[in-house]
């Protein structure tokens, strides 16, 4: 960062005129005294930035996921209470879409056309967000850090304004698959997926199969599927019984939390002791334990059911009291969102909010929709809560590209199994051990660049 005050002023004026080349402005803008705040883009005033999101606040994906946006908002409240971003407060509007693509489409129109948001942030869900990604890109609304690991968000030619954030499901699937091949090579592997024709299940399946194929493993390549609706939950026991009948010993599950919980409970009910290997999005132990013991299924089941489940993480472990990101987010949660439990959803929501503040800061004192896209692509941020750096560039809109394998121990907490590993989403891309140092958050908890 070289703050060149005079150039920064010139460029900021040009930015207001709608010039897209804002990289220089982004670099020069960290000196807040140079120019005054203007209403530089839709949703941006001199004192406020309005962003919007669609979230499953009710419905089949709500258990767990309904905490994500409130957690992100808690981080924004913290930032607002400490001066905001370049003097602007972040106003985060998140609407309920019930994990229903039709509802996502209409709620997103409301955010863009009526609430006039600057950007869509953290919109949750693969099938849901796929219904609006074309609309957002044709309307040139920045579509930042979709809360889904679909590979489809990294498509810079078709969706230049869309950015993923978490490791995509194929990257995650490859690393899960490698672990299965190394540790359960003699067992029969089957799949329990959201689908059929759902990118969430399909991308994960493709990733796991990349690592399993051609190794002479015993794989039941016909997956069992569930539909993410209330009626779909009723059909899960039959799907699990189908896997049992096939003699499947390792169940790879790309499922949202409610359906992971129902699947594991169904297996227990069938006295079917398969090893569950679950995508990160459906494996947060506090969420699963809450669903199993909180009566969402109508009867109480022991949280211990999930012990031994294998999954992965790309954020620090919730229970790692020595991690400065964990302590920071936990203290923000206690001050600004004390009604939320400390779980993986809250950590996720706050971590994504941190990335958004990084992007907003980098977009310049008076951000435009083009300048925030350019800022993310040229960011090369080295700090962030994730275990690996972001992959963002002008040709890559993936966020994190690696995970660390974890397992649920007897007390319901996660413990790590081996190193952090990174890879890409091609079938042949090698899986490498990541050895970079972990970053620490800035002292005031607000990104500095």
């Amino acid at each position: 960062m070289r703050p060149e005050i005079s150039r920064s002023r010139t460029w900021a004026v040009a930015a207001v005129g709608g010039v897209a080349a804002l990289l220089t402005a982004a670099c020069g803008s960290s000196s807040p005294t140079s120019t005054s705040n203007t209403a530089s883009a839709p949703g941006i005033t001199a004192s406020q930035v309005t962003i919007g999101s669609t979230q499953p606040l009710t419905g089949p994906a709500a258990p767990g996921y309904s905490e994500i946006a409130p957690a992100a908002n808690a981080y924004f409240k913290y930032v607002n209470a400490h001066g905001g971003v370049n003097g602007r407060k972040i106003n985060y509007i998140y609407l309920d879409d019930q994990y229903n693509p039709t509802s996502t489409a209409t709620q997103t129109r409301k955010l863009v056309l009526q609430d006039n948001v600057f950007a869509i942030f953290q919109a949750l869900g693969t099938p849901t967000h796929l219904s609006v990604v074309s609309y957002l890109n044709s309307s040139k609304v920045p579509d930042l850090f979709v809360a889904s690991g679909c590979n489809c968000w990294n498509n810079t030619s078709q969706y230049p304004d869309t950015f993923g954030w978490q490791p995509n499901y194929t990257i995650e699937g490859k690393i899960l698959g490698q672990y299965i091949a190394q540790n359960f090579g003699s067992k029969k592997v089957g799949f329990f997926l959201q689908g059929p024709n759902d990118e969430f299940g399909a991308d994960g399946f493709a990733g796991v199969m990349d690592s399993l194929q051609g190794k002479g493993l015993n794989v039941d390549s016909t997956p069992a599927y569930y539909t993410p609706t209330a009626a779909g939950a009723m059909a899960v026991p039959a799907a699990i019984a189908g896997l049992q009948a096939q003699g499947v010993q390792v169940i790879v599950s790309f499922s949202v939390p409610l359906f992971t919980a129902v699947a594991e409970a169904s297996a227990a009910g069938l006295k079917y002791s398969a090893q569950f290997v679950v995508s990160n999005v459906g494996a947060d132990p506090p969420t699963l334990a809450g669903i199993l013991t909180g009566g969402s299924l109508g009867k109480r089941l022991p949280a211990g059911l999930i012990a031994g489940t294998i999954s992965d993480t790309y954020l620090p472990l919730l229970t790692d009291a020595s991690n400065p990101w964990v302590t920071m987010f936990k203290s923000i949660e206690q001050t600004y969102a004390s009604s939320l439990p400390w779980d993986g959803n809250v950590e996720y929501g706050m971590s994504e909010a941190y990335t958004f503040v990084q992007a907003l800061k980098a977009a310049g004192q008076n951000p435009t929709r083009a300048s925030i896209i350019a800022a993310i692509q040229n960011s090369h941020w080295t700090d962030g809560p994730g275990l690996t750096p972001y992959a963002y560039s002008s040709s890559d809109h993936n966020g994190y590209t690696g995970v660390q394998m974890v397992t649920v121990n007897a007390t319901g907490d996660l413990t790590t199994l081996g190193p952090i590993e990174t890879t890409d989403d091609t079938a042949s891309g090698a899986i490498n051990t990541y050895s970079g140092a972990a970053s620490t958050p800035p002292a005031n908890g607000i990104p500095s660049d």
Binding site: N100, P101, V132, N197, S339
Partner: protein
Amino acid sequence: MRATLRNSTLVRHGLFFLALAVVLLVLTSFVFDPYTNYNVTEVAIYAICTAGLTVLTGINGQVSLGHGALMMIGAYTTSVLLTWHPDLPLILMLLASIATTGVAGAIVGLAGARLRGPYLAGATLALAVALPQVPSHFASVFGGNQGLNVPTPSPPAFLGGDFSPEQWLAWITLAAAVITFFVLANLVRGATGRRFRMVRDNEVAARLSGIDVARTQVLAYIISAACAGLAGSLFAYWVTVTSPSGFSLNLSLSLLTAIVIGGLGSLSGAVIGSFILVYLPVWTGGFASSLNLSSNVANNVPLAIYGIVLIVAILVFPRGIAGGIASIARGAARVIPSSRGPTALPAAPESSQ
């Protein structure tokens, strides 16, 4: 001239709907912002479907809990055809959806002509529950639960670069709605409408008068289904994604709610009911978020208010809002005998009892 107006329903309706079309054209072009246009499009889509439903239920006396499923057939016809042939013009899609849904309506109508009251309700309910399961089982054609994406129709170039897609779709949908209402208003005023009502009121009397009851009932179902198909096709363009989640049982029940709240058997009631269907959740949502409740409560407040409003509306206006307005107008006409009272809308609200 006066005599022509009084005697020819066709001319009177023609002039009324032409005037309505001009008003809507001005409103969508100069008054409404894109979001209002977007919502007005939704109102018009529901109005097309509920108009067909009110002809079936209010005028012909056949209940249907399955109109959401019929809309789904229309929406999937458009979406599947667009997946195969992305360049086909919109008007062809609308006509194809009307055709397929009309055929589906004929099949349901044939079954319906043999069923009465709760049995017909049960059969159509089964349709509404079962049909949304189909796309998951034939995912390669229907896109499964994730659904099929539908491109937003882009306005023709001569309208200029600033012409919003929302306004274009509002034009298309409102034009379709005006035509639908014109056709239905003439239909229910004419011989067909009289036969529909006679079958509703007394099947034995209708049969004695030489009316083929079953054929009349099937015809009512086909007309009603065709409206649902048109609405479904436009719905696909409006949402831009056609997935089973858009056509839950909830939709079928909402459509029925709309015609009951609006006024059973009245075309203007169908419009009022559709308006409530779209705008009540918007208003209650805004109200709920202004209350500053905890999120668990606030998320469910709109639904609760919606329910309360529906209960109150039914208690206050047992014949629907259109019926209530008509009663108030008649009351006012009695109080002020000199005034002629407001002109009734083309299809005057009428009792369904």
